[in-house]
């Protein structure tokens, strides 16, 4: 699987729906998420859907960075984990405060009497939210500048990002103050709201759903902007973009940072929704599974990654109830089929079928290996910071 190969090259922006369809899409999504889902799903299923929405938020970022920007982000677990652990630390401290204990429960079991200094900033909700929103992005900027300025790309970038996720998981396992391999769990409150109250768990679901809508809106905006065109251009013909006077590294850093920020936010939402964060949620395996939904859904479209992530997670959860150990193989087979026969993901299925039906319309610019036509009607280079 080549990372620089465009999955579905420039048709006339089919991947990004126009304003009318966008409005209708958002309205439909809002109705489904805010009215239909709470009405038809049990509290348990709604909570599960909330967890899948977190994965979808990560997927939206991966769609931007990988699908549009050609960066195979195999290590989003790093940013997801940062957001999740920061939120988890805050929730543990808040719980201890509510109970009137000096330290969170798992620390007192380990015989720790004082909260470690590096935990203390996270007692403040404001600091926590700021760190959740800013830290993953800041790390991504640093990493991105180091990596992309040196023109590291393709498989090397993928390996590097995956190694970082593995490093985080390994490091956390050794941190007793982060719960080690057990992770952090047993959260009682969320910014003062009692987490055992079903109404509050629905509230969390709505927050996740609202966040997902905002995230999709941001991605759509970026895709339609001149920056979005430049990003696709960098993916398809990085050297040509360089010769035109742009710095591809900057273009990539922006998409990578946005994807990292989304992953961090998703991690922070995951913690109260699911009630646990452990090293097995931030390492290599989760990082890869974030990607599978994106690939299957259609990585260079707006909704493909989001719907793919939700669909795969939903299928995993419900199929594993009926066929406990068989799901892994089904998922692997689906992945192979999609990568092998449908590189644009399920989102490109319609196009492929139409092409099959009318072979005469098979136009050369739809060949996957053909470099996509970069829209060169772009004289100024200001939009890229």
């Amino acid at each position: 699987m080549s990372t620089t190969t465009p999955a579905a090259p420039a048709r006339r922006w089919p991947a990004v729906p126009g304003p009318l369809r966008t409005g209708a899409g958002f309205a439909l999504a809002a109705v489904v998420l805010f009215a239909v889902a709470p009405a038809v799903l049990s509290d348990f299923r709604l909570g599960l859907l909330g967890k899948f929405l977190c994965f979808a938020i990560v997927a939206a970022g991966i769609g931007l960075a990988w699908g549009r920007g050609g960066m195979l982000t195999l290590g989003q677990g790093l940013f997801f984990g940062m957001g999740a652990y920061v939120m988890a630390m805050h929730l543990k401290l808040a719980d201890a405060q509510v109970r009137g204990d000096a330290v969170p429960d798992f620390m007192s079991i380990a015989g720790v009497r004082d909260v470690p200094g590096w935990w203390q900033p996270f007692a403040s909700p404001v600091v926590t939210l700021l760190v959740v929103l800013l830290a993953p992005g800041a790390v991504a900027v640093l990493l991105g500048l180091m990596v992309f300025k040196r023109r590291v790309k393709g498989a090397y970038f993928a390996i590097l990002s995956q190694a970082l996720a593995a490093a985080l998981a390994t490091w956390v396992v050794g941190q007793q103050m982060l719960g080690g391999s057990n992770g952090l769990n047993r959260f009682r409150t969320f910014f003062g709201f009692d987490l055992s109250d079903p109404a509050n768990r629905r509230l969390l679901f709505f927050i996740a759903a609202g966040t997902l809508l905002v995230v999709v809106a941001v991605v759509r905006q970026l895709m339609r902007s001149r920056y979005g065109e430049l990003l696709v251009a960098v993916r398809d013909q990085e050297e040509r973009v360089r010769f035109l006077g742009y710095d591809p590294a900057n273009v990539k850093v922006v998409a990578y940072t946005v994807a990292a920020t989304f992953a961090g936010i998703a991690g922070a939402l995951f913690v109260p929704l699911v009630g646990i964060i452990s090293p097995s949620d931030v390492g290599i395996v989760p990082s890869i599974s974030f990607l599978i939904g994106v690939a299957i859904g259609g990585r260079d479209t707006l909704l493909g990654p989001v719907l793919g992530a939700i669909g795969i997670a939903w299928a995993e959860s419900s199929l594993s109830e009926s066929f406990p150990s068989a799901w892994v193989y089904a998922q692997g087979a689906l992945f192979i089929v999609v990568v092998g026969f449908l590189p644009g993901g399920l989102a490109s299925l319609g196009g492929v079928l139409r092409r099959r039906g009318r072979p005469a319309e098979r136009v050369p610019h739809e060949e996957p290996d053909e470099p996509a036509s970069v829209r060169t009607t772009e004289p100024e280079k200001e939009p890229v910071a």
């Binding site: 304003p19 409005g23 958002f26 809002a30 805010f34 049990s42 509290d43 348990f44 299923r45 909570g47 967890k51 509510v98 007192s108 079991i109 015989g111 390994t170 396992v173 050794g174 007793q176 080690g180 391999s181 057990n182 992770g183 769990n185 047993r186 959260f187 009682r188 409150t189 003062g192 709201f193 009692d194 055992s196 109250d197 079903p198 109404a199 509050n200 768990r201 629905r202 509230l203 709505f206 927050i207 609202g210 809508l213 809106a217 905006q221 339609r224 902007s225 699911v274 009630g275 646990i276 452990s278 097995s280 949620d281 959860s317 594993s320 109830e321 406990p324 150990s325 799901w327 892994v328």
Partner: protein, 417 residues
Amino acid sequence: MPRVRRRAVLPATAAVLGLVLTACGSRVGEDGAGAAPAESCVDTSGDSIKVGAINSLSGATAINETVIRDAIEFAVDEINADGGVLGKQLDLIAEDGASDPTVFAEKAEKLVTSDCVAAVFGGYTSASRKAMLPVFEDNGGLLYYGQQYEGLEDSSNIFYSGATTNQQIIPALDYLKEQGVTSLYLVGSDYVFPRTSNAIVKAYADANGIEIKGEDYLPLGATEFSTIVNKIRTADADAVFNVVVGDSLVAFFREFTAAGLTAADMPVMSMCLGEEEVAAVGVENVRDHLASWNYYQTLETPENTSFVEAFRAEYGADRVTSDPMESAYTGVHLWKAMVEKADSFDVADVQEAADGVSYDSPGGTVVVDGDNHHISKTARIGQIRADGQIVSVWESDGAIEPDPYLTTYDWAEGLAD
């Protein structure tokens, strides 16, 4: 994007925010906060009663947990053949924990709130148990956790049918001390159980004049032990205290034997080396080394003889029965005994009836402690025989009362609060 459409974003955002805020539930400290456990939805009207099992059938620990699932199914079948519980047949709903704590939590919630099972059997790693604990506490479910673990926990919604530290680790240390061991080398996989058990070992050693010659951890699943084995050889301790788990055991013992170390000059006392693992490591690499468990397949009690025979008749003559399997099997029978004593499937009734419930398990008679929900167990030190079986060479003086927080040991003060 034209400026016009941006105006639509604001009302939309406001609408979403409004929706979100109307959904607010109780805040902490408010009256009537939803802290009360959910109403039980267990259906006791039919001829059968649902129970659940969560074990990993896929992922890293699947190989250890699949056999535990077999033991649970075996116990359920046995109970059903014997007339069920309170006249009802057990309907086992099985879930895959996929070696991932979040999946364990998800499936536990499904079993308790959607399937409405009367009790759940399973869980393996401490991470999986800790992930499930809030689910059972919040929803008023019951979990029977059948695995030796690092202690320092008790929950009214969990019954622990595996050994806690004073039924496995401390007896192992008592035995080594009795054998005249004055120095130890500690090795372990890097996670909570080995680190906690080694903290206990160090406190014990400190109080009993045993010298700790070294302490090393390798990540779970690591297979590169040459450096550690070299350090062990040069450290020249009297014995090795081994809390390496899983696949790493194979690499550790092969390296240990390859370095020319034998059980005669430096015995290895293992906490996680059962009959299954001996077969995986290869008996030539672990012969005569020691293990600390509560149960071995070779125990010659009437209960164990019939357990092994029946299990093999069902699952194959080449199958072994190990301590984790026996504990899980015992857990199912303990639930039955508690329900029968309570004459009810209701969680509160079972919790109330639990104290003093006993069961003649394959490893000996066990009694439930109603306070900490652990059970009394006989500790046994085993030696690995040439045929791959483990034989008990030392046995504690009767069943040891569970003490998950080690409150009855002076030297353990400060280990736990």
